[in-house]
Amino acid sequence: MAEAVLFYLFAAGVLAGGSQVVLRRNPIYGAVSLVGCFFFLAGIYVLLSAHLIAILQVLVYAGAVMVLFVFVIMLLNLKEEELGELRFTFWKVVGLVAVLATAAVIAWRALGPAYPSTGPARDNAILLAAEGFGGVKAVGRTLYLAAVLPFELTSLLLLVAIVAAVVVAKGKI
């Protein structure tokens, strides 16, 4: 019961933070909202007994990555008038409606039948935690054995991202 209450609390926080990131015109507000979003997400991870991931989420994203973001935003030093106003055009509304409708259809036709609300939810998390789920060892085993290919590929992806960023950011060719 407490788990459910917490989950809805965190989920609402994630959604609120995420929508603020999109809707705020001032990037600093956006960045701070994102930090909040990350914290709530970490909370959800904790509820799932994914403790290591939760800590990494806070350390790496909320800590390191966001600091970089804030640096970049400060370096850009955008003026208020450069930020523009939030406008709702016809197609934005269409897109919003389409996305919400998709979510509604999925919730109604897919999630509803797949997880019928019969009785109180089992506390899977506690059972899993007893098996060492979410700890360093379990994550490490998954990462370096079952998921070794995606893990290695990620390094390739990061390298490509760096090179691509350099190419795009460099002066005119």
Binding site: G95, A98, V99, V105, P113
Partner: protein, 653 residues
């Protein structure tokens, strides 16, 4: 017999086309001409050698050049089939093609794009040879598309921008409709029989429904390519290219492809008697329709274009009544005299510095006697006047139509009346068309070559150089000589001419119609009627269009009609009468046909309709594709919604 040289026949002109097209600009003119001409001539020689050496027992040369592709159960060889039909057509294509090449050397000499022209011409011949020699439907389709592509290139050769957009589009839309039919027909046949080769399709048992659908689809292709109702409209416009090209398209290649295909697929068509009747009906209607329109045209090439449409209609009557030999025989003879006519008209246009209007010609026989004579011979042939080739081949078609048994068991709906009289109707329509054909062709001849010169001032009509007139003479001679293939079998039985008789010659090639071939009728009644018709058409034309030269007189023609002339003592009155009774209604009827059908339905609906569709689509595209990312994302999101909704809706318990 399996041989290994057949691929050379289409390959040589193809090589010529490649050389001319890629290097032609830098080659000396003489070399270019030599390459273009020699490759076609070599093809002809190979074809001729093969033709003469066809074994008597199984007169087939076959070559599997290579295994084209096998995808699953579909196994297609790029093979060539050289039997008496495709062999004869090979000779016609390369022979007439070569003469047109020779003629073009004179005709196109001053055009700066001559090298492109010769490249297209060779490509055209290569494509047509592939069509004729292919041993399966897919190979035939290769040639089918090839000639379509080449005609598209050649028709546009001389266009100014405005016209090109229009006529090109016309030829294009119309031919595409036919192509769709042809492709679907191939798929249907493959699905039913598991094969596309003629050898297997020629014996494959087919249900009536399958055969009918496949035959109908293929016939739609034939309608498009062979310019039959309702898809004939592109052909009269196709004559806007250089005249030798028109000769090639109209006479030796391309438009005869449909007739050839129907004859080649005789097994399929005889398995679908209903479609066979439709083929004959469409042919008869087209023949009549185009002949009527032909009487009202003043452009010399347009007259010839409509006459081609009309003659193709005759060929379809021939194959449609199950007399495949008659249809293909007319195809061969028509190739000679129509090429002669078109090249003759080209010589006239050349000599008159581009003038094409019959009303601004006249008296040209004095200035260009060779052209006039050859044109006259070809006109005799197409009018079906005894004894030149057209007479025999056209009459064979009509006689076969009259006596056909192909429709004896066909009924109009279940339990309806039998269609036994269809043959007679076809005969009557055909004969009437023959009359009109003779009339308008002679009208064309008289207007162009007889009477006084009415041409533009300052233009001095002159005979064409020898390189242009010699093909005319050869073609005229062929128009006459090809009569031997049409002589009735009883006349030649036992003599060496029997081997040349087309019916005998192609005897085992075609499947007989379900009612069996007509037999044991005497050709004489038909010949007498045909003779009368041919001359009647001539007479009508002469009465109307030859008064100006009555004084000088052509005694040979005049002597044949003394009574008729006396009967209509007052020529002026005859003219008036005829004008009131026949010409005016005919003219307005023909104009009406043209206006309603060509101008409104085809041009308005298909051609302009497609142009409007393009404009509408362009507007639509601009509306959605305006570069706005949010719009793109919104459309994408809508797509996701649709996909998710569709998936989940279908998965509902």
């Amino acid at each position: 017999m399996e041989v290994s040289w057949l691929h050379l026949i289409p390959l040589l002109p193809l090589a010529g086309a490649a050389v001319c097209g890629l290097l032609g600009k830098w080659l000396p003119k003489a070399w270019l001409y030599a390459i273009a001409l020699v490759t076609v001539l070599l093809s002809f020689c190979i074809g001729l050698t093969g033709f003469l050496r066809l074994p008597e027992e199984v007169p087939i040369f076959h070559e599997v050049a290579f295994n084209w592709f096998s995808a699953g159960s579909l196994h297609v060889d790029m093979g060539f089939l050289f039997d008496r039909l495709s062999g004869a057509l090979t000779l016609v294509v390369t022979g007439v093609g070569f003469l047109i090449h020779v003629y073009s050397v004179g005709y196109m000499d001053e055009d700066p794009g001559y090298w492109r022209y010769f490249a297209y011409l060779n490509l055209f011949i290569a494509a047509m040879l592939t069509l004729v020699l292919g041993d399966n439907l897919v190979a035939m389709f290769v040639g089918w598309e090839g000639v379509g592509l080449c005609s598209y290139l050649l028709i546009g050769f001389w266009y100014t921008d405005e016209e090109k957009a229009y006529a090109g589009r016309k030829a294009f839309v119309v031919n595409r409709i036919g192509d769709v039919g042809f492709l679907i027909g191939i798929f249907v046949l493959f699905n039913a029989t598991g094969s596309v080769s003629f050898a297997q399709l020629g014996v494959a048992p087919l249900t009536l429904a399958t055969a009918s659908i496949a035959a109908l689809c293929l016939f739609i292709g034939a309608i498009g390519k062979s310019a039959q109702l309702p898809l004939y409209v592109w052909l009269p416009d196709a004559m806007a290219g250089p005249t030798p090209v028109s000769a090639l398209i109209h006479a030796a290649t391309m438009v005869t492809a449909g007739v050839y295909m129907v004859a080649r697929m005789s097994h399929l068509y005889t398995s679908a008697p209903g479609v066979l009747a439709l083929v004959a009906l469409v042919g008869a209607l087209t023949a009549l329709w185009a002949a009527l329109i032909g009487t009202a045209q003043n452009d010399i090439k347009r007259v010839l274009a409509y006459s081609t449409v009309s003659q193709l209609g005759f060929m379809f009557i021939g194959v449609g009544v199950g007399a495949f030999f008659a249809g293909t025989m007319h195809l061969v003879t028509h190739a000679f005299f129509k090429a002669c006519l078109f090249l003759g008209s080209g010589a006239v246009i050349h000599g008159l510095a581009g003038e094409q209007d019959l009303r601004r010609m006249g008296g040209l026989r004095k200035y260009m006697p060779q052209t006039a004579w050859t044109f006259a011979v070809a006109t005799v042939a197409i009018s079906g006047i005894f004894p030149i080739s057209g007479f025999f081949s056209k009459d064979e078609i009509l006689a076969q139509a009259l006596h056909t048994k192909a429709y004896d068991f066909l009924t109009l709906g279940p339990g309806g009346p039998h269609l036994t009289s269809l043959g007679t109707i076809l005969y009557l329509v055909g004969s009437f068309t023959a009359l009109i054909t003779s009339f308008y062709m002679w009208r064309c001849y008289f207007l162009a070559f007889e009477g006084e010169y009415r041409g533009p001032e300052g233009v001095h009509p002159h005979e064409s150089p020898g390189i242009m007139t010699s093909p005319l003479w050869i073609l005229a001679a062929l128009s006459v000589l090809s009569l031997v293939i049409g002589l009735p079998e009883p006349w030649v039985r036992g003599s060496f001419l029997e081997h040349l008789n087309w019916e005998h010659f192609t005897g085992r090639l075609f499947s007989p119609p379900r009612g069996g071939p007509p037999a044991g009728f005497s050709p004489w009644p038909g010949y007498l009627v045909a003779l009368a018709i041919g001359w009647a058409g001539f007479g009508l034309a002469w009465l109307l269009y030859a008064p100006a030269r009555a004084a000088s007189g052509d005694d040979r023609f005049a002597a044949l009609f003394p009574r008729l002339r006396n009967a209509f003592a007052n020529k002026f009155w005859v003219d008036e009468f005829y004008d009131w009774l026949v010409v005016r209604p005919l003219w307005s009827f023909a104009r009406g046909l043209w206006r309603i059908f060509d101008a409104t339905i085809i041009d308005g609906l298909f051609i302009n309709g497609s142009a409007q569709l393009v404009a509408w689509v362009a507007a639509l595209a601009r509306r959605f594709q305006n570069g706005d990312v949010q719009r793109y994302a919104a459309v994408t999101a809508l797509g996701v919604l649709a996909l998710v909704y569709a998936f989940l809706l279908r998965s509902s318990p």
